[in-house]
């Protein structure tokens, strides 16, 4: 560079260090940062207040159901009751963490959601991307989707049973439907929210249409796509539970309904809590995959 040297000096030392050393430093730096943030969080009142809130809730539940046994509350299972049932090796109602049936139900539900979710992603994401990219296609496809969307997924139960063979297909179809709308629409939104400047810059740089699609549309829509996937998995669980309660033979939804019918009330709560945990894990997994694929946004924070 003719003339100014001070600017080059700024970066001279950085330029000498090879990339891998830099990357390592960055990694160590982020670990230190995470540890610092954890310590700060533990020192604040936040975690303890949160704990207090949870304890208050459990305490109130316990008081109302088992101790005071207020009129309507006494029929509900209390936390102690539920816990004892859950950890006993010979549970009164046959379902605890030691009974294989429990895990069988979890697997049934999880597997159904997984199938529905993958189908919804495989169909919804490309559809959404294409609709966002080609206006003509959107004009034809979008109205159909928008007309079907207001119909609650569970209103499809009878039709699904009529249309699809067997017992599994309708259940998976319902979970799929719910996730499909969320995925497609969020993907579409993602593409449409990409700043026009990126398209222009890509055109300036001589991109052909397939480059724009693969290198601008897809990465640009990723954050919204993953939001859509998280929402999708959530509504998939929602619909699955309902479908299982109406017409299933296995699964956590079925377990809830069956326990109710058989008056095995503590099992209801066990199943509900399990649902919450498993549902949460699914969302967390998707968030994790998302953050790995989109390192550029994680670092921005």
């Amino acid at each position: 560079m003719c003339g100014r040297t001070n600017m080059s000096i700024e970066f001279a030392s950085a330029a000498d260090r090879p990339g891998s050393v830099q990357a390592e430093e960055q990694r160590q730096g982020s670990v230190r940062l995470a540890r610092y943030r954890l310590v700060l969080w533990l020192k604040s009142t936040t975690p303890y207040l949160g704990l207090a809130g949870i304890v208050a809730f459990l305490g109130a539940w316990y008081l109302l159901t088992e101790v005071l046994a207020l009129p309507r509350f006494e029929k509900l299972p209390g936390p102690v009751q539920v816990w004892n049932e859950f950890v006993s090796r010979d549970p009164t109602f046959g379902t605890s963490m030691f009974s294989p049936d429990y895990y069988k139900h979890i697997l049934w539900s999880s597997w159904r959601v997984a199938q529905a979710f993958f189908l919804a992603t495989a169909l919804g994401v490309p559809l959404g991307l294409f609709m966002g990219w080609k206006r003509t296609f959107k004009d034809y496809a979008f109205p159909v989707i928008e007309m079907l969307r207001p119909i609650p997924v569970l209103a499809w139960v009878p039709l699904a049973i009529l249309m699809m063979p067997g017992r599994e297909a309708p259940i998976i179809f319902l979970a799929f439907l719910a996730a499909f709308f969320a995925t497609t629409l969020n993907t579409l939104l993602g593409v449409e929210s990409i700043d026009e400047s990126y398209f222009r810059a890509a055109r300036c740089l001589g991109s052909k249409p397939r480059h724009i699609f693969l290198r601008v549309v897809v990465p640009g829509a990723m954050p919204h796509i993953f939001t859509g996937l998280q929402i999708g998995v959530g509504v998939a669980w929602f619909s699955l539970v309902a479908a299982e309660m109406v017409s299933g033979e296995h699964g956590l939804g079925f377990l809830i309904w069956d326990s109710y019918v058989l008056s095995q009330y503590p099992v209801i709560v066990i199943a509900m809590v399990t649902l919450g945990v498993v549902g949460y894990l699914y969302s967390a997994l998707i968030r994790l995959v998302g953050s790995m694929l989109m390192r550029w946004t994680v670092r921005e924070a």
């Binding site: 119909i151 209103a155 929210s193 809590v273």
Partner: protein, 258 residues
């Protein structure tokens, strides 16, 4: 800068009509030719014919009223409890820290999983269904209000403080109006969830309503009526969401949608 929409308005609408008309035509022809894949799904002509007859009957509309009543009570309850809670959580750090973890733990549990518990606890079916609806909409409302209130630009608050506002003014004249769009978004999403829950709850444990109508049509083997039920629910849900969107625009006219 969003991607500009260059197509002329009418071309989009025109294409929409074409695709829907095409779909309906294919469906109708498929049924007439008894295409095996469509199974026993009734044809559009049957459905429309039945719909025309049912509109004239009182009991059809009674189902509408039943569902709407449940939706209204459950949904309203969720707003009445949820909006103030969300605002309180945004305003007060302690409130937020105490309630947030518990809410986050309860949120992943699908509302319908609560149906048996609700039936055990509440004396009537109506109350049980309303409770489940409440739960469905409640979490959405709280999250949306919380997000909206937290993201009020601090510059607006500072400007208000410079202009000599008291805490009460800040809340009612700055935070509340700024959060209104999020409140209405929460309501719109909550309304969608509400209808999902109503339909499911009616199918599982109801004796009247549009969800019950759809389910009993299936049980009774009246297939065209299933589709009538589905369409009714879709229309009802869409009307409610439109109402909310309209109310949102009225309440927050400054929101320009680009």
């Amino acid at each position: 800068m969003k991607r500009s929409q260059q197509t002329v308005f009418s071309k989009t609408v025109y294409r929409g009509f074409i695709s829907i008309a095409l779909l309906v035509t294919l469906w109708e022809t498929g049924r007439r030719l008894n295409v095996p894949m469509l199974g026993t799904i009734p044809a559009p002509s049957e459905v429309l014919g039945l719909l025309a007859k049912m509109i004239l009957k009182a009991e059809f509309w009674e189902n509408w009223i039943s569902s709407f009543r449940r939706v209204f009570f459950g949904f309203m309850a969720a707003q009445i409890v949820g909006i103030p809670l969300g605002l309180a959580m945004a305003a007060n750090r302690v409130t937020h820290d105490v309630t947030f973890p518990m809410l986050e733990i309860m949120r992943p549990i699908p509302p319908l999983a609560w149906v048996p518990t609700a039936i055990i606890f509440w004396p009537t079916t109506e109350l049980s269904i309303a409770f489940v609806i409440f739960l469905g909409a409640f979490f959405t409302v709280v999250i949306n209000v919380l997000d909206g209130a937290k993201s009020v630009d601090v510059r607006y608050v500072r400007a208000a403080l410079s202009l000599g506002s008291r805490p009460r003014d800040i809340f009612f004249r700055i935070v509340l109006p700024a959060t209104l769009p999020s409140i209405f978004t929460g309501m719109a999403v909550g309304m969608g969830i509400t209808w999902e829950v109503v339909v499911a709850a009616e199918m599982i444990a109801g004796k009247a309503g549009l969800g019950y109508l759809t389910w009993s049509s299936y049980v009774g083997g009246d297939y065209p009526q299933i589709v009538v039920g589905m369409i009714s629910i879709g229309v009802a849900g869409y009307l409610c969401s439109s109402l909310i969107r309209f109310a949102g625009k009225w309440a927050a006219p400054w929101q320009r949608l680009f």
